[in-house]
């Protein structure tokens, strides 16, 4: 005969199990590679920002809207003075190139805003707002998020303790950062590039993304510049007019 205590425990376990299934079914699964991320972001844009010059094709998705950045990056980048951009460069030329992202910048108004390396991005999130970093875990999945958040808060090392699926937040950012920067002929590089842009500079209508490209055969450096408008930034489709 099942005692009251056992019945209660079985009931509690069943309840937890059902909640777990609902939680897993409704949670947003993070993209597991750059290609999936690009596909997801592409579905959100009506007009693609593309450009091509000297045998290179550029494909750009500025990431400003929090409804897009929250589920895919776990944060609202402008709260961290960051402007992320999804960039894909296809090298259809006959020569290998080096995309010099460390000397890349975004122009807002008359200001140049430098790019950031991924380690700096992760560090800034962790240092400036631990709660937001916890949000990275929470945003990506109910149970994983809560587990990550709990551990993170407990040890004060949120970035590294929160998990995205089976990956740490840091790994997730590394995996989705732009690479490779040395692109051989007929290959491509893609991923997110972060720019250090203070919040007050994000209200401009027009942006220019600039990055030097080195032709590894001739050692000639050219600067690629892609101009885009704030309204081109990815946003939920229903909000587009």
């Amino acid at each position: 005969m099942v005692s009251f205590k056992s019945a209660w425990m079985i009931g509690a376990l069943l309840g937890f199990y059902i909640l777990t299934i609902i939680g897993c079914a409704t949670s947003y699964k993070p993209p597991n590679n750059v290609q999936t991320l690009q596909e997801r972001l592409s579905q959100r844009v009506d007009t693609e920002i593309t450009a091509s010059c000297q045998g290179l094709k550029f494909y750009l998705i500025p990431l400003l809207d929090e409804k897009i950045t929250k589920p895919n990056l776990g944060i609202v980048p402008k709260d961290f003075d960051m402007f992320p951009v999804f960039l894909r460069i296809e090298n259809i030329s006959q020569h290998p190139i080096k995309v010099d992202l460390q000397n890349s910048f975004i122009v807002t108004g008359e200001e140049r805003n430098r790019s950031m390396i991924v380690e700096e991005v992760v560090e800034r999130i962790g240092k400036n707002d631990p709660q937001a970093a916890v949000g990275l875990g929470v945003a990506f999945g109910l149970l994983g998020g809560i587990a990550g958040a709990t551990v993170g808060v407990a040890v004060g090392s949120i970035i590294d303790s929160s998990t995205v699926g089976s990956k740490t937040i840091e790994e997730y950012y590394h995996n989705n950062s732009f690479k490779p920067t040395l692109i051989n002929s007929s290959l491509s590089g893609s991923g997110i590039v972060f720019y250090d842009v203070p919040k007050d500079r994000m209200s401009y209508d027009q942006f220019i993304l600039s990055f030097p490209i080195l032709n590894l055969i001739t050692n000639e450096v050219t600067t690629a510049e892609i101009s885009f408008k704030a309204k081109d930034a990815v946003r939920p489709r229903e909000e587009k007019k």
Binding site: H95, P96, K98, Q102, N103, I117, E119, A154, V155, G156, S157, D160, S161, E170, E171, H174, K179, P180, T181, L182, N184, L216, I217
Partner: protein, 196 residues
């Protein structure tokens, strides 16, 4: 008062960051594919790599958390990172059956740019681990300076959890460096380009 004294004593224990000494750093390269003894040995000149602007001081290679209070402490290298990488690459090329030569007399010249050569620590409630990241571009040119092969290389490594990860900092960084170098010799496109 007693607590304060004890805290200072214990807090200062192990308060020095490790240092990357000069010399042979990577213990054992696992390079499977090599130039066979019957083939002509290709002479390679490994130049000192440049550093990207993300590396402000090439002698600083990490951030250790030392003592009971996990105080931040710079991990320094006796040699600059460019030299560390160049020296280890030379050893790996020798193991792969190449000859090391001077610039004017070599068949190929290896150079590149280092973007990241860093180790720091994840600090947990009880346990910690070291995490290292090595990222660089390698470019191989022929003796006339023509591009032969190039690749962006990146390897990251995290040590197992331990009570004090500081002792694992240098070995973890060297492990990431070793893996990064081995990946060059595992790449078929490298061998195809070299033997062309």
């Amino acid at each position: 008062m007693l607590f304060l004294v004890l805290a200072i004593i214990f807090g200062s224990l192990g308060c020095s960051a490790p240092q990357l000494k000069r010399g042979r750093l990577v213990n054992e390269f696992n390079i499977q594919k090599k130039i066979s003894p019957e083939e002509r040995r290709i002479a390679v000149c490994v130049e000192e790599f440049t550093t990207a602007k993300s590396i402000s001081d090439p002698h600083v290679i990490g951030d250790a958390r030392v003592g009971v209070f996990n105080v931040h402490s710079e991990i320094r290298s006796e040699d600059p990172t460019q030299l560390v990488l160049a020296n280890e690459l030379k050893r790996a090329f020798l193991l792969a059956g190449f000859k090391i030569g001077e610039k004017g007399k070599s068949d190929i010249i290896v150079s590149g740019q280092i973007e990241r050569f860093w180790v720091d620590e994840n600090i947990g409630g009880i346990t910690e681990n070291a995490k290292a990241s090595v990222r660089y571009d390698i470019i191989v040119k022929d003796k006339e300076g023509r591009f032969v092969w190039g690749k962006s290389i990146e390897r990251r490594k995290v040590s197992g959890k331990s009570i004090d990860a500081t002792k694992d900092n240098i070995p973890t960084l060297m492990d990431a460096l070793r893996k990064s170098i081995e990946s060059i010799f595992e790449d078929e496109s490298f061998w195809n380009a070299i033997k062309r």
